[in-house]
Subunit: 418 residues, 2 copies
């Protein structure tokens, strides 16, 4: 199993991680220290509140205290007839990460479902006595503050993949829960997918494909807005693991590569990747022919690309977003595509998910959208299924996880979610 | 203007060029020498025949003897309403490579048309007195032996782009014509497009896009056959300029890269690109998860991928072909896609072109086809329009072209077409 080469998402240190980026917002080490202290304080307060209300102590919800038989709940998408078509298709309800026999042979209970919405859903039914909930960003089981309150036995929330914004992380931290994801498991998958989408937009692939299936042949109708990627300016908003892997793959294309992040890369790595640091997001954006979003969804990045920011982008800009749909203002993107200010938009993330039938991104011109798929290739599934199994093994033994997997640990959020 | 870094398609030397590859067929330098001598002999014979029949000598058809006002005929695709949508859209009938004023101000006649088929077409009408014919691979004016016979004034055939198989090269050589193309003008364009197509097939993009536009959301229906490119084996059949540019772009993806060609690359370049040489095509092919065709269409590569050869490929193989449609057996490809033996097929080349409405590749499963577009991006058009202008300028002055542009010169074919 080969994980990503970058290794920046460590949780334990209060120094600044380069994983995500906030526009116009720089966190100094001193601020981070202050925030960490504040979070710890609020976590302790919450622990006291829980202790008095339920007579459980934080230890009963702490990873290291776990022992005995556990109830594990998995929320995945259903694969129906596709489940049997590929023995490595592990990330679905039917194949349940391939860990059922392993769990049940040790006496644990393992419930899996895709039914995750509303008060009468299957997930809701198992919340009160689940010890562990596993879910994915592709079909997220939303773990709200309300659900956390009901989950008296809950100790551990595992994301099979990357991106734990489906969990109310503050509520999880306050309740003393551990949240972890399989960091690195699908970063290559997402970076490859982003480069595919860049090429699809730059080269105007889809109008040509539409001509083929509708019996037409009109080269001019494609060529008048088809370009080479070579020589264009590509900027990534956020330059953590995925952003760096993308830049490395872009290097031989002969582009002008820019990146915005909270901190500058190590000069040697920056030189090797061949990208230039842009401290200020709004200074970088108008230079870009292609903008790629590689920042997690946080309170600070929600709606980051609103009408005003989109208006400042270069006319005809191409946007690729495999990060999270809610980083964009949905209607502003649709309007930008309709007016031609945005020349093309491609991504696999939506808000909400699954995208409703009337989601405007389904019908806007020059879109190259798919359902949330980039991080759930068969290769990625094998990696994140193995990563979840490893963490469960640690959990049963009362051992720590690899440090970079923690999103919430001992009441503290990983730096990219602070 | 930046041309490709590789520079292997030189005409003047009788040594072996690494531009194209023939399966199971190795031309030794001695054979190449013998062939060149034979071609020169036949060219001289043809010259004598023409001289006696028309009282013109080879000199009147030779590039270096040209002088005075010329009639230039351009065959391009029509762009209709798209012609005005982009000032750099030069490669269409309406914009005529952007050289009309320049030609006419010097007193030359410049006729352009898209009407190129049958005995009554516009091209046929201008054949008898044209001195120069310019055409493109995207909407090829087929210059047959019969047309060459009728073209009493013809001296020069220019391809705005790369690939001159629309010309009967032997007939052109026998008639003492010069054939040249803008070598390097769109190699980057085609290589980028190939990498896009590899990713579209490996990652199973199109079923996801279809779900979006039809109001569906079914991640499983995409994921069960979506993979990462990382770790897969990619083999290129032919490793000239385009093949090498593709391999360079593939390098950071962490694939196992193979190439088959008539000769092995310089060890330093091979090491830098990170690809392994496969001397025997049929030994390489069964190793490949993805096969990319990068060989010109010649008598030896026509129908190279027939039913038997396709049957020997790995089950589920993905094929990308931006070279020429006729390298494949059309029905064998369609049958392979239908049976699932071919897991996906993508390319922009067909036989014939434009592809008729009932061409089976339009309707076979798991195809990601477009009309012939990869080499006619706006960037490529700017380069090949400039390259054609430069060669016309040379021609008017009686100067030589850059050596690598020649396809037929003084009765001799460039090595990749021998």
């Amino acid at each position: 199993m080969t994980y990503a080469i970058c290794n920046s998402k460590t949780f334990s240190s209060p120094t600044i991680s380069p994983v995500c980026s906030y526009p116009n917002f720089q966190i100094t080490p001193a601020m981070a220290m202050a925030m960490a202290t504040a979070i710890k304080r609020s976590a302790s307060a919450a622990t006291r509140a829980i202790s008095s209300a339920t007579s459980s102590s934080i230890l009963t919800r702490d990873l290291h205290a776990s022992s005995g038989k556990k109830k594990i709940v998995g929320v995945f998408y259903k694969a129906h007839e596709y489940a049997k078509m590929n023995p490595n298709f592990l990330g679905c309800v039917e194949n349940a990460l391939g860990i059922r026999n392993w769990l049940e042979s040790q006496g644990h209970e393992y419930v899996v479902t895709d039914d995750k919405e509303g008060p009468d859903c299957e997930l809701e039914k198992h919340i009160p006595d689940a010890h562990v909930i596993i879910t994915t960003p592709f079909h997220p089981g939303y773990i709200t503050a309300e659900r956390i309150k009901k989950a008296k036995n809950l100790q551990l929330l595992l994301t099979a993949g990357i991106g734990s914004d489906h969990v109310d992380l503050k509520a999880a931290a306050d309740a003393g829960l551990t949240v972890a994801e399989v960091t690195g498991s699908n970063v290559v998958s997402v970076a490859e997918d982003e480069l595919m989408r860049i090429l699809i937009l730059v080269r105007n692939f889809l109008p040509g494909y539409h001509q083929v299936i509708s019996g037409d042949w009109n080269v001019a109708g494609i060529a008048y807005r088809a370009y080479d990627l070579e020589g264009k300016t590509v900027g990534t908003v956020g330059c953590g693991r995925i952003g760096r892997l993308l830049l490395q793959r872009l290097k031989p294309f002969g582009c002008n590569l820019l990146y915005h992040d909270r901190i500058k890369m190590d000069p040697e790595l920056e030189n090797q990747i061949g990208a230039s640091f842009e401290e200020d997001l709004d200074t970088m954006l108008p230079k870009c022919d292609i903008v790629v979003i590689n920042t997690p969804l946080t309170e600070k990045t929600k709606g980051l690309f609103d009408k005003e920011r989109i208006a400042k982008l270069k006319k005809g800009v191409l946007i690729v977003n495999n990060a999270r749909g809610a980083i964009m203002d949905t209607q502003a993107v649709a309007d930008g595509c309709s007016s031609g200010h945005i020349g093309g938009y491609s991504g696999d993330v939506w808000y909400p998910q699954p995208a409703p039938k009337d989601h405007p991104w389904r019908y806007m011109p020059n879109q190259a959208m798919t359902p949330h798929i980039s991080g759930t290739t068969i290769d990625a599934q094998l990696r994140y299924a193995a990563g979840v199994k490893d963490m469960l093994e640690n959990y049963f033994k009362g051992e720590d996880f690899p440090a970079q997997h923690y999103i919430v640990k001992e009441g503290e959020l990983a730096s990219q979610y602070r």
